[in-house]
């Protein structure tokens, strides 16, 4: 297999414009003859489904939630970046592009990232027109704030609920299309497999989560907007339902999976309280704008924070990174937090815990309680609800948690995977964030893909594909549907002793310990062995219960965990093969004497795209070399 990225020729700044002018268009009268299946209804999926329907395509959209409005994009808090330069602080398309490439530690594709920065401004226009209630200045103009890892204020926000408001904008645009009958919406429907005919994606197999009915859906193209896979760690900030199944099934049907080991650990989450913990809650990174992060100088210091005098506090990010301080990028902030906790200086009940302070004392003194309440009121309330502590009185405690996955299905410049007619957008693809994503860039990418990129590029394929029409009666659909039925039957037939949840927790522990914030070869090899053994045990000893013909949440979970077990191994393979540290991928063997990541551009300046080689066989590695023309590869420095 050859990875063809289809990056247009010409200077970086002219590529997209030129490509848009040159790609094929579908005759308006023919658009309704094309049926597009969109899986997922988050920012990427909803915006794509709505925009494609507006163009005249017939669209079917699927989501596992009970409503399209509940996709996990809704939980994004902080904001969305755009190169508007409204603050007159020197922002530009190039600067947003450069920050994103640099933040990603030079492991993303230049052309894609430049395009992302280019369309970013139009996203804000689009969302404002839809009625997204962005924060405003007193004069009625849009407000901005600065956000983790950059030095300009280019982040647009709607209180601490930016993801919610952007998603509702896309959901409402989608709802309008559903109402006029151009999109057929299928909530509580989970994609369980992909159907490939003659090398092209031609449809999906879906299980209705209420009736259990498994059905086949045929189309001319399939768009996967199914989000990320942080739940491989069990405990993450993702919603409980987030899973890898759709993209994993696509991988097993021939799409390659890029950089699976690039997973972001977010520095500002509420620490775990006990073994019952079901998920971790993120506190927006915007808190780092005004909060100061510290731990006691002394190990095992059990004094309450207000009794620890100033000179016995270590504001370690400010000490190590004087110019960025508490705004150091996520990967660095996370790793340093783990380090101080591993040293025994963590805080939390009893001292020596897994937490660091995020302290607003100085900000409250400087700006006043009211300003802080206005900026972070709902976040403070949320923190208090969960922990029972008031951040106005006691510093917050935070700890890193898995949050976002930069890896995903490999896509070309057109967002098409290595399977013809199969597209991956949003967090489900790998394309724009390299080895680390900057704050407020996920919303930007999801909406860029869905509103402004896929609607153009998919037409190029449909105009030229000339694939014969197939329907769900085609033998290939029958065959794949039979395999899905068999997998469901096998899960239900297992009558072991352990619950799905127990297995998921065990898998999560292995992944967090060995393939989490820092990794090493010995640990990864051990993990691969343990995952294989656990997977065998899962199929032998799991108990799912219930029936296949009704709402069975244990069965839903079982299918997702079964796929996580297979996927986890690929993640470890990828982490093991990448013998360098870059972005969030920190290999303990490859670091500078100061403990910073040591990149190896010579050997690893490429995208690792893995091809499925069969069950129990080593996946095949394909490399897409990354060429940098517009930027100079620098060692990231936030000091």
């Amino acid at each position: 297999m050859e990875l063809r990225s289809h990056i247009p020729d010409g200077p970086l700044a002219a590529k997209w414009e030129r490509h848009r002018s040159e790609i094929k268009l579908v005759n308006p009268a023919n658009k309704r003859k094309h049926h597009i299946l969109v899986v997922g209804s988050g920012l990427a999926g909803a915006s794509a489904a709505a925009s494609l329907a507006e163009l005249g395509y017939r669209v079917s959209c699927f989501c596992f939630q009970d409503s399209a409005r509940r996709a996990h994009s809704i939980a994004a808090q902080g904001g969305i970046n755009a190169a508007k330069n409204y603050q007159n602080d020197g922002d530009s398309v190039f600067r947003l592009f450069y920050d994103t490439i640099k933040g990603g530690d030079f492991r993303a594709r230049e052309a894609n990232v430049y395009r992302l920065a280019e369309v970013s401004a139009r996203i804000i226009d689009q969302c404002a027109a839809q009625g997204v209630p962005f924060a405003r200045e007193y004069g009625g103009l849009l407000a901005n704030r600065s956000f983790g890892g950059v030095q300009v204020a280019r982040t647009f926000y709607a209180r601490g609920q930016t993801g919610q408001q952007l998603l509702l904008g896309a959901y409402q645009a989608l709802s309008r299309q559903i109402g006029i009958g151009t999109v057929q919406m299928n909530p509580r429907a989970e994609m369980l497999d992909l159907v490939v005919i003659d090398g092209r994606a031609r449809g999906i197999i879906v299980r209705d989560l209420v009736t259990g009915a498994v059905s086949a859906h045929a189309g001319d193209a399939v768009v996967l907007a199914t989000g990320g896979y942080s739940n491989v760690y069990y405990l993450s900030t993702n919603a409980k339902g987030c899973n890898v199944t759709a993209i994993w099934r696509a991988y097993k049907r021939g799409a390659t999976f890029a950089n699976p080991c690039f997973t972001q650990i977010h520095p500002t989450c509420i620490p775990q309280t006990g073994p019952h913990q079901s998920k971790l809650t993120l506190m927006s990174e915007s808190l780092r704008n005004d909060g100061r992060i510290w731990v006691p100088n002394k190990k095992g210091d059990t004094r309450p924070p207000h009794q620890i005098p100033e000179e016995e506090r270590d504001y370690y990010l400010e000490r190590l990174y004087p110019s960025y301080g508490n705004l150091a990028p996520r990967d660095i902030a996370s790793r340093r937090a783990k380090e101080v906790c591993d040293e025994g200086r963590g805080v939390g009940p009893g001292g020596g815990g897994h937490g660091v302070y995020l302290d607003f004392r100085d900000a409250i003194a400087r700006l006043g309680r009211q300003v802080i309440a206005e900026r972070y009121g709902n976040l403070f309330e949320m923190y208090q609800r969960i922990t029972g502590e008031d951040p106005f009185q006691v510093p917050m405690r935070i700890y890193p948690a898995p949050h976002y996955t930069m890896g995903g299905l490999w896509v070309d410049y057109n967002l098409m995977t290595t399977l013809d007619g199969l597209y991956a957008i949003g967090e489900a693809n790998f394309s724009d964030h390299g080895a680390n994503r900057l704050g407020a860039s996920a919303l930007m990418q999801g909406l860029a893909d869905g509103y402004f990129i896929l609607p153009y590029t998919i037409g190029d394929y449909l105009a030229q594909a000339k694939a014969p029409k197939v329907d769900a009666e085609h033998p290939a659909f029958r065959h794949v549907q039979g395999e899905v039925d068999e997998r469901v039957r096998r899960l239900l037939a297992a009558s072991g002793r352990k619950t799905v949840d127990a297995f998921h927790r065990e898998l999560g522990r292995v992944m967090w310990d060995k393939c989490g914030m820092s990794r090493n070869a010995a640990g990864l090899k051990e993990a691969i062995g343990r995952i294989g053994a656990l997977r065998d045990e899962f199929w032998r000893d799991v108990y799912v219960g219930g029936k296949g013909e009704d709402l069975n949440q244990s069965l839903e979970h079982a299918g997702r965990v079964a796929d996580f077990f297979e996927f986890a191994e690929l993640m470890c393979h990828d982490a093991l093969h990448r013998e360098e540290s870059c972005g969030c991928h920190f290999r303990e063997e490859y670091q500078t004497p100061e403990g910073e990541a040591r990149r190896d551009d010579e050997r690893f300046g490429y995208v690792a795209a893995w091809e499925f080689a069969g069950v129990g066989k080593e996946p095949v590695l394909h490399k897409e070399p990354l060429a940098f023309e517009a930027v100079h590869l620098a060692q990231r420095s936030y000091q």
Partner: protein, 261 residues
């Protein structure tokens, strides 16, 4: 903590359901309410019983998926808190907890605590949007929105569509949900061209879904995890009557929102 749970169990739509009693021991006050149910479900599975079905996803109080009536109150006793964010420290040791699904004709029970809230989606599909084709938007700062209006619109837009307002209302009315969307969009300059049509079609859909009439009890606002104000219902009524008087555009002959006092 030790608790006695009485949980509504119902095998499927239209079937008879009833409360089943479960004794819970060793509940940690740091658990969320849903984590407490997770633990119970693990115990049920261990004895090969059917676990309790309930909707949930983000567990951060924003997706709107979760929701159950706890001791007669949607989302339980704590103000401005969804079920997933409710923690067991809100209850005292030895308490009896009665746990039921949302109860409304427009929200039929699917299984146990899971209900079908598709009616909310259909109300939005009927008109809860601003028509803005992708690509056609003007430069964002060409449109000024006074901060006060933007803030008020955001207050309304904070609705998570969980349905607690319907569950709390003695008449199972969806007025707060509809009012929040009508107000969010109607307060913004972008929302003006479709303002009249929007309120009329959304109210018509609300009625078609067989939600009850507004009773002005204010239970909806008390139960709302996002504290959406019933002032927005007044706004909805004003918008509705203005639209009815202007009767433009006429999608169908509008019937007034049913209202009793």
């Amino acid at each position: 903590m030790h608790l006695t749970l009485h949980v509504w169990r119902q095998r499927g739509p239209g079937l008879l359901g009833g409360f089943v009693r479960y004794a819970m021991t060793d509940v940690s006050p740091d658990m969320s309410f849903l984590e407490m149910l997770d633990v119970l479900n693990q115990q049920l599975l261990a004895r090969k019983d059917d676990p309790i079905a309930f909707d949930h996803d983000c567990r951060e109080g924003i997706c709107g998926a979760c929701g159950m009536v706890i001791n007669g109150r949607p989302h339980g006793p704590q103000r401005a808190t969804t079920t997933c964010q409710l923690h067991m420290r809100s209850f005292s040791d030895g308490t009896d907890l009665w746990i039921e699904p949302w109860r409304a004709r427009a929200f039929p029970v699917i299984k146990d605590l899971v209900v079908d809230r598709g009616a909310f989606d259909r109300i939005i599909q009927a008109g809860g949007f601003i028509t803005a084709r992708t690509g056609s938007a003007p430069e964002a700062n060409s449109l000024l929105v006074p901060k006060r209006d933007a803030d008020l619109a955001m207050d309304a837009a904070a609705c998570i569509g969980c349905g607690a307002c319907v569950a709390a209302c003695p008449n199972a009315s969806a007025m707060l949900f509809v009012a929040a969307k009508v107000s969010h969009l109607g307060l913004l300059p972008q929302g003006q061209p479709e303002r009249d049509g929007r309120v009329v079609t959304m109210v018509a859909q609300m009625d078609a879904e067989e939600f009850g009439a507004c009773t002005n009890h204010g239970e909806c606002m008390a139960a709302c995890p996002k504290e959406i104000s019933i002032d927005f219902i007044a706004q909805l009524n004003r918008d509705y009557w203005k639209a009815a008087v202007r009767a433009s555009p006429p999608p169908s002959s509008p019937s007034p929102p049913r209202q009793t006092s």
